[in-house]
């Protein structure tokens, strides 16, 4: 049993209190520790991704307790890929926060950042629904602190909405967990997969309610329409680097849906068959349409990006809700793309804000470093709207292709293609207003020259865009890998047997007893 797989959770968990306790008055030391920690995380995550790339399922039993009783951490292709994505995103966001000085505008940015990473990593790696809840709470409570970082009344007000919405979501999550436990007597995902299959078709009421409740919870995290209302205000008012990190948080919801609804309530499970597919696809289509209409209607640049995030989540959920290996593979490819693109856009909106008094889409004098920022915005907008040649186009193509044999193909194609056009118009209008019209506006004679963002800020944004380009150039190997991920997801027997059959303490005594131990 390798101990490496718990390290993405442990490393930030130790680093964060250390930053608070030992380095709280020294922003320089905090920065060094935080960056070193994230680089370490990338190394570990890359190692884990390499170790699982051949289809191995890594298992770690905490305290050596065997699976249905003890807590397990499981790494397969999908979860290690998501961990690696989080770590890489974390590095660039952190570099931007340091470069732009955001981390010094309030207290404890780096400690909260590390706790946030810990929660996200844990949510990707856990093999247990209750621990998924716990790690959701860890990432949420850190995100509350990050969201109101550096204060301000408007930000606090948006923070209240964000916290209250998520508290309600957590309550719903607990209700879902309670009903699942009442029906099956376990919360371990591998164990659940076996027990749900045993539920007799006559007694499906409880388990169907539980499945739908759980889907609702994950849909809240994934900001699926009509549960998206928390997202625009909170992401727009959060500090830009924080919003960029939050780009991975909606994907935690998408990941949880992929994980639970391929393994536990899979498409072939009789008692819940068709239940989620019937609701998920329409909601996803509406999300995509509404998100892109929001892009067109937005009056501020940061709101525009938040609606683009909702739209891209809709695109991801369309692919997920088809529940075929091909579509899930496309969804994973698009998840990586949309995380990077959304994060880059949020950071670019902050580059714009550096040289402007606000982000309103109105005619204002040109910003500092306008040429470079405009170029970066152009690239990121191409990626987000899914125009060739970047990975958004390829991801969209994969999703369209995976829908071609479905009965819902007409709807999927119509909504995706129309909304893409709407998004192109929306981004085009925003870009031309912010960057081109500014040329013709005279700066007032007494105004100071606008601030230019620091080189490090540009490096962070360019890094994210370079990753997007790499995601496009290496699309071949990448899609082969996402195909392998989907194959592993739709054949969960290896995962289940690894989790349940690995010996540990208690494994020989009453293995079929329902009673659990430590949680």
């Amino acid at each position: 049993m390798t101990h490496w797989i718990i390290l993405p959770v442990i490393l930030p968990a130790i680093l964060a209190p250390f930053i608070v306790l030992a380095a709280r008055y020294h922003i320089g030391i905090q920065r060094v520790l935080s960056v070193a920690g994230v680089i370490g995380l990338i190394a570990v995550a890359a190692g884990l991704a390499w170790a699982t790339s051949d289809g191995t399922v890594l298992l770690y039993q905490l305290g050596d307790w065997a699976a249905p009783f003890g807590i397990v951490v499981v790494g397969d292709r999908l979860s290690t890929l998501m961990v690696l994505l989080t770590a890489v995103l974390g590095l660039f966001v952190l570099l931007y926060a340091i470069g732009s000085g955001w981390d010094d505008r309030g207290k404890h940015f780096h400690a909260l950042f590390q706790f946030q990473l810990m929660g996200i990593m844990g949510a990707f790696l856990t093999g247990d629904l209750f621990n998924l809840f716990v790690f959701f709470e860890v990432l949420l409570i850190a995100s509350y602190g990050l969201m109101i970082h550096s204060g301000g009344t408007v930000r606090l007000k948006a923070g209240v909405q964000y916290v209250l919405f998520n508290l309600l979501g957590s309550t719903l999550f607990l209700f879902a967990l309670g009903s699942i436990y009442a029906e099956t007597g376990t919360l371990n995902m591998a164990d659940l997969a076996q027990r749900v299959a045993l539920v007799s078709p006559e007694e499906t009421v409880g388990i169907r309610i539980a499945a739908v409740l759980l889907l609702l919870v994950f849909a809240i995290k994934a900001a699926l329409v009509p549960l998206h209302f928390w997202l625009p205000s909170s992401y727009a008012e959060a500090p830009a680097p924080v919003a960029a990190l939050f780009a991975i948080m909606t994907k935690v919801g998408a990941y949880a849906i992929i994980r639970v609804y391929t393994m536990v309530f899979g498409p072939e499970v009789e008692v819940t068959a068709g239940l989620h597919g019937a609701w998920l696809l329409p909601a996803a289509l509406v999300s995509l349409a509404l998100g892109m209409i929001g892009v067109l209607a937005a009056k501020k640049l940061d709101r525009l990006i938040t609606f683009a995030v909702i739209g891209s989540m809709g695109m991801v959920m369309i692919a997920i809700s088809l529940f075929t290996p091909e579509a899930t593979s496309a969804a994973v490819y698009y998840i990586v793309h949309s995380t990077l693109a959304a994060a880059a856009l949020f950071l670019i909106s902050d580059l714009v804000r550096t040289g402007r008094t606000n982000l309103d889409l109105t005619d204002q004098p040109s910003i500092g470093g306008a040429h470079l920022t405009a170029g970066l915005f152009f690239i990121a907008a191409i990626a987000m709207t899914g125009l060739p040649p970047l990975s958004g186009f390829l991801g969209k193509l994969l999703i369209l292709h995976s829908a071609i044999e479905q009965s819902t193909m007409v709807w999927v194609w119509a909504v995706i293609l129309t909304s893409s056009l709407v998004a192109v118009v929306g981004f085009g209008r925003a870009g031309s207003t912010v960057f081109w019209k500014a040329k013709s506006i005279e700066r007032p004679a007494d105004a100071k020259a606008p601030q230019t963002p620091t080189a490090m800020s540009y490096i962070a944004v360019c890094g994210l865009l370079a990753l997007l380009v790499a995601h496009t150039v290496f699309a071949g190997p990448m899609t082969r890998y996402t195909n392998a991920i989907a194959a592993q997801l739709y054949a969960p027997d290896a995962y289940i047997s690894t989790v349940l059959d690995t010996p540990g303490k208690l494994s020989d005594a009453k293995a079929d007893d329902k009673k659990g131990e430590d949680h």
Binding site: F130, V134, E137, L140, I141, Y144, I148, S150, G151, G152, T153, V154, R155, L156, K157, G159, V160, Q161, V163, L164, L167, L168, S170, T171, L174, F175, L177, G178, S179, Y181, A182, S233, E237, K299, R353, T357, N358, L359, D360, K510, D513, K514, K515, G516, D518, H519
Partner: protein, 114 residues
């Protein structure tokens, strides 16, 4: 006893939801507290209701399921911490804006939030 516990969960949930929809921070926080009480009792009952039975596996034929008790303990601690956080943030927002409405009053075109 089943009726008593079930109606307690129902009444707490209904009262909690009503308060949440008042859209003022104080009633909403009270409502969320009631909802967490409801969910805690609900979690507790998910291991079946047993009276005066030990929560460990012994030779006796009846025992209380210990796992929901552990889950409830975790849920209580988390909801307690979350409530403290939301009270602090709500207080900050109230003192800053002199208004405790949860929803947006008007489109925030009042300027930059920085």
């Amino acid at each position: 006893m089943e009726f008593l516990v079930a109606s307690a969960i129902g009444v707490l949930t209904a009262a909690g939801l009503y308060l949440v929809m008042r859209l003022r921070t104080f009633p909403v926080i009270m409502g969320i507290s009631l909802l967490t009480y409801a969910v805690n009792i609900f979690l507790f009952t998910s291991g079946r209701l047993t009276v005066s039975a030990p929560p460990i596996l012994t030779d006796a034929t009846t025992y209380a399921d210990p796992l929901p008790q552990a889950l409830v303990l975790t849920a209580i601690v988390i909801s307690f911490g979350m409530t403290a956080v939301v009270v602090m943030i709500a207080l900050g927002a109230y003192l800053g804006a002199d208004d405790d409405a949860v929803n947006d009053i008007a489109p925030t075109d009042a300027g930059d939030s920085k």
